[in-house]
């Protein structure tokens, strides 16, 4: 299962980078979103896949016994998803406003602030 997830992450990164290299405003954002998903999955995978073993502490013990799923990466991923969602939503709105005011979605034509 790890292999499959690793391949999925690799695919997401490859796709994301490919989309980033397009000249289109929206495709650039799609690329960033794909990369974000890849990063989230990577953190999830870094916690090791241990299904069916919740990190619960048995009665009269101070820590979970045996093999248990690490809850921390999932907490991290949750935070990262929320932050990523907010930023991506903002970026989408920004791209829309930029398209409305510049009348183009070609990144090569959006160069007025550069020299």
């Amino acid at each position: 299962m790890e292999i499959v997830l690793a391949l999925v992450i690799g695919g997401l990164f490859a796709g994301g980078v490919y989309m980033l290299l397009r000249r289109n405003l929206v495709k650039l954002l799609v690329g960033l979103i794909l990369l974000g998903h890849g990063a989230n999955l990577l953190i999830f995978l870094m916690g090791r896949l241990i299904p069916g073993r919740p990190p619960l502490v048995p009665v009269n013990a101070t820590q979970p016994v045996g093999l248990f799923a690490d809850p921390l990466p999932q907490a991290l991923v949750l935070t990262a998803i929320v932050i990523g969602f907010g930023l991506q939503a903002f970026a989408l709105v920004l791209a829309r406003r930029l398209y409305q005011s510049a009348h183009t979605d070609d990144l090569d034509q959006l160069r007025t602030t550069e020299t």
């Binding site: 870094m46 920004l94 007025t112």
Partner: protein
């Protein structure tokens, strides 16, 4: 439990909420904003005094013991950066009283300024890598909104580039944090310093490179700086001063933190690379600046070249060099911001940032010319101003380390900095105003139109620059103390982990 470590984050948060609630009442909002910034400054001074006197201060948030919970740590470096952020915050907020438009204020301009201060202070004080990511994102999203307020086309365009590259940098940061957790099993910085020693150095160096790229984007280091001159100059002057002073320095702070605390296994490789990056950052930044004829763009390129000096201190990796970098940090934050604020006053007087259309201001307003000249000469490194001591310390450290190339580069870049500052001086202040045949008579020492709230912050910043130049010794000693603490992290680790391991 030390509440002073928490207050620099709490005060801006409460102020943000207060300012948002008082949005419909301008006078109350203004007073709240000023009060919050003033209180933050007092707390920051108190924190620095406390850390200086009693050593490193730690809070384990929620009473979770060190490697498991979120840790907030204030060592001398953090405390100093928090103090600088507070000084800048107060200055910019006072300055903004005169310049902020009603429309921008309606969308929460001052609330966002405080929010940025919260994010910056959080990034300085945290002792946990993932928490650092969260603070970065907080200050980034506030800065996105501030940059785009106004909604002109160039602002939208500049902000889009800023957003895109920073999102990419954040994703890299997140990936690096994920892998770091995967290999070390901890994200607490002090714990990482312990854990990484037992890992193969190739793996650690790979991780170090990921962090170098992620933080390099935020800091505007070569070759990752192109977003900065493309986006910063679209913002109003007060905002630019805050961004120039603080935002990139948070990236440098993060670099210094990780490369002194836990990425120190293979310094021969990583820190030499940082030194090379530093050299290129200085040169490309200053060459970009020389080619510009627009006040804000020129200074934006200068931000980059100054980042090079800070990285040079980190790359040389000795107490003297890091001390020089810390001193440089204080100097450059103040000088850079003062220059942008003067730019804002000139814009208010003349309605343009274009050097070709400006002129004659030194006769009209000698006081304003002086306010520009002090930070400009300081930035170029003219003795006895603060920039001279900062560069002197770095050059001396470079000679001691026998890194002659970087020393030569830094000296050459200083010369070019002086050249571009002279260019601004000659174009804006010295030459006659274009379109006027007869030279104008002096109107007043300082411009009345600019208003007290615009002039006072610039005056205070310039005064601090002169003071830390003429009385450099206490600050140099403090900088060396900071550097010593950074290079001997045993104390930091001991305090954070508190004997857990």
């Amino acid at each position: 439990m030390n509440i002073f470590v928490l207050l620099p984050i709490l005060i801006p948060l409460i102020t943000t909420i207060g300012v948002l609630l008082a949005r419909q009442r301008p006078r109350l909002r203004r007073n709240l904003s000023l009060g919050g910034a003033g209180l933050l400054l007092i707390v920051a001074i108190e924190l620095l005094v406390l850390v200086w006197r009693d050593g490193i201060q730690v809070i384990q948030v929620g009473e979770w013991a060190a490697p498991f919970g979120i840790t907030l740590v204030a060592d001398l470096f953090s405390a100093m950066m928090v103090l600088l952020a507070a000084v800048m915050g107060l200055g910019v907020i006072i300055y903004s009283q005169a310049t902020a438009e009603q429309r921008a204020e309606h969308f929460g301009y001052s609330a966002l300024l405080h929010f940025i201060l919260m994010g910056v202070n959080g990034a300085f004080l945290t002792g946990d890598m993932f928490n650092l990511y969260v603070w970065f994102e907080l200050l980034l999203i506030a800065s996105f909104v501030l940059l785009v307020l106004g909604g002109r086309r160039d602002q939208l365009e500049g902000t889009f580039k800023y957003v895109a590259i920073n999102l990419f940098g954040s994703i890299l940061f997140l990936v690096a944090v994920g892998i770091l957790y995967g290999v070390a099993g901890t994200l607490n910085m002090a714990d990482l310093a312990d854990q990484l020693n037992s890992l193969p150095s190739g793996l650690v160096t790979t991780l170090a490179m990921l962090f170098l790229v992620a933080f390099g984007i935020k800091a505007g280091a070569f070759p990752l700086f192109f977003w900065l001159p493309a986006s910063y100059h679209t913002a109003p002057a007060a905002l630019l001063a805050l961004f120039a002073g603080l935002m990139t320095k948070v990236g440098v702070y993060a670099l210094v933190r990780v490369f002194t605390l836990f990425f120190t296994q293979d310094t021969g490789y990583t820190h030499t690379l940082i030194l090379i990056i530093a050299g290129f950052t200085m040169v490309t930044g200053v060459l970009g600046a020389v080619a510009q004829t627009e006040f804000r763009k020129l200074l934006s390129f200068h931000i980059i070249s100054q980042i090079g000096y800070l990285l040079m201190g980190l790359g040389l990796f000795s107490t003297a060099a890091l001390g020089g970098a810390v001193y440089f940090m204080v100097h450059v934050i103040l000088a850079k911001s003062a220059l942008f604020l003067v730019g804002g006053i000139i814009y208010k007087l003349r309605g343009t940032y274009n050097l070709k259309q400006l002129g004659g201001l030194s006769i009209l307003y000698p006081g304003l010319a002086l306010l520009f000249l002090i930070p400009a000469l300081s930035l170029a490194g003219i003795p006895p101003l603060s920039g001279f001591w900062a560069k002197f310390a770095l050059v001396q450290a470079g000679l001691a380390a026998e890194q002659y190339v970087i020393v030569a580069v830094s000296l050459g870049v200083s010369l070019l900095t002086l050249f571009s500052m002279t260019k601004i001086w000659a174009e804006v202040f010295w030459k006659d105003q274009p379109g006027k045949e007869t030279p104008v008579q002096a109107v007043s020492f300082i411009p009345h139109q600019a208003g007290v709230s615009m002039l006072v912050p610039v005056g205070v910043l310039a005064a601090i620059l002169v003071v830390i130049g003429l009385l450099a010794e206490p600050l140099v000693n403090l900088s060396l103390l900071v550097a010593g603490q950074l290079l001997n992290p045993a104390d930091y680790i001991e305090t954070v982990l508190g004997g857990v391991l």
